[in-house]
């Protein structure tokens, strides 16, 4: 349900705001909930992928990247969904362990930035929703 308070909130423009608002019916609580769930799941899978990369388990990393890839989109960050798509293509070439490690380490910083963006936005929305309606 959209309220006057929610209308006053400005989402960080790094997100695809129109898409996010439409997908979640302009409901800030729903957006906050999905940001929290998605960031947790992406972070968990990223940790697993980094461990799997040490073993060079290409297929399992590819499966996990594929699984969480749409979560970036559900959070309104299509550019990171595309990054994961490119990673999936890369893993589809069955690279050796060294190439997987190098590539994941190259991407790691930007992925963490994306996760921080999501986490910070979820906190900001949470704080905003705690404020009494004026």
């Amino acid at each position: 349900m959209q309220t006057s308070t929610q209308r006053a909130y400005q989402l960080n423009q790094a997100f695809d705001v129109p898409f996010l608002m439409e997908m979640h019916d302009n409901d800030l609580s729903a957006i906050s909930a999905i940001l929290v769930t998605a960031s947790q799941q992406i972070a968990e899978e990223l940790d697993r992928c980094m461990i799997l990369a040490e073993k060079g388990d290409c297929n399992e990393i590819k499966r996990r990247i594929h699984l969480v890839k749409p979560l970036w989109g559900y959070c309104g960050l299509p550019q990171l969904q595309m990054k994961y798509q490119l990673l999936e293509y890369f893993l589809g070439e069955n690279p050796d362990a060294e190439r997987i490690r190098t590539r994941l380490h190259q991407e790691y910083g930007q992925i963490i930035e994306g996760l921080n963006l999501i986490t910070n936005e979820a906190i900001r929305i949470h704080e905003f929703l705690k404020q009494p309606a004026s």
Binding site: I34, H66, L67, P70, Y74
Partner: protein, 229 residues
Amino acid sequence: MKITAVIVEDLSVAAEMLQRYCVKSGRVNVIQSFSSVETALPFLSEQVVDLIFLDVEMPGASGFDLLDKLSYSPQVILTTSKTEYAYNAFEYNVTDFLKKPFTYQRFIDALGKLREEAEKREEADDISHIYIKSDGKLIRLENDDILYIESMGDYVKFITNEKKIITHNTIKNLTSKINPAVFCKVHRSYIINMNKISDVRENMLYIKGQMIPISKANRTMVMSRLKII
């Protein structure tokens, strides 16, 4: 009346979002949600549904494997994050293809296509014959003349009382085109005319002395269509 549907999707966020859209539309009743083909298949072999929201890449079997194993042809809306599956979607005659994530409006557009597809299927239910292309001409076959249809890779063989006709087609494609009241897919390589079965023994059925296998996945559906008294 609401459409009965199941969701087969391994990403819980996507499944929840889809469920929410279905409720919001007021047109779709999701009776069950599964995270893999292996868990969905036993349910779908027992329960006929109007629609499946189907992810393609899941751990274990893929969404297309599920469609291969189903003995009936519900309407299917593919939900995937890879556009590369569009060609397969066409091959499997799916009703629509939703790229994750998608908006509510895009979801509603897909439901709109269901109505058109349902109308086409209702027309197919009334048809007593089909035309097939063979030797550069269109040949009319009455449903009642067809005993069964056998897959031969990219071709299929129509076996009638009097002749065998080979044509370029697939069992997958035919499943959605033929009259479902008369025909039934009993195996990934066979569609049979239910009215022509002479007897059934364990995992085999016989039509005019020809032995036809019934796959494990299709057995429940086939048995449920026999009028056993």
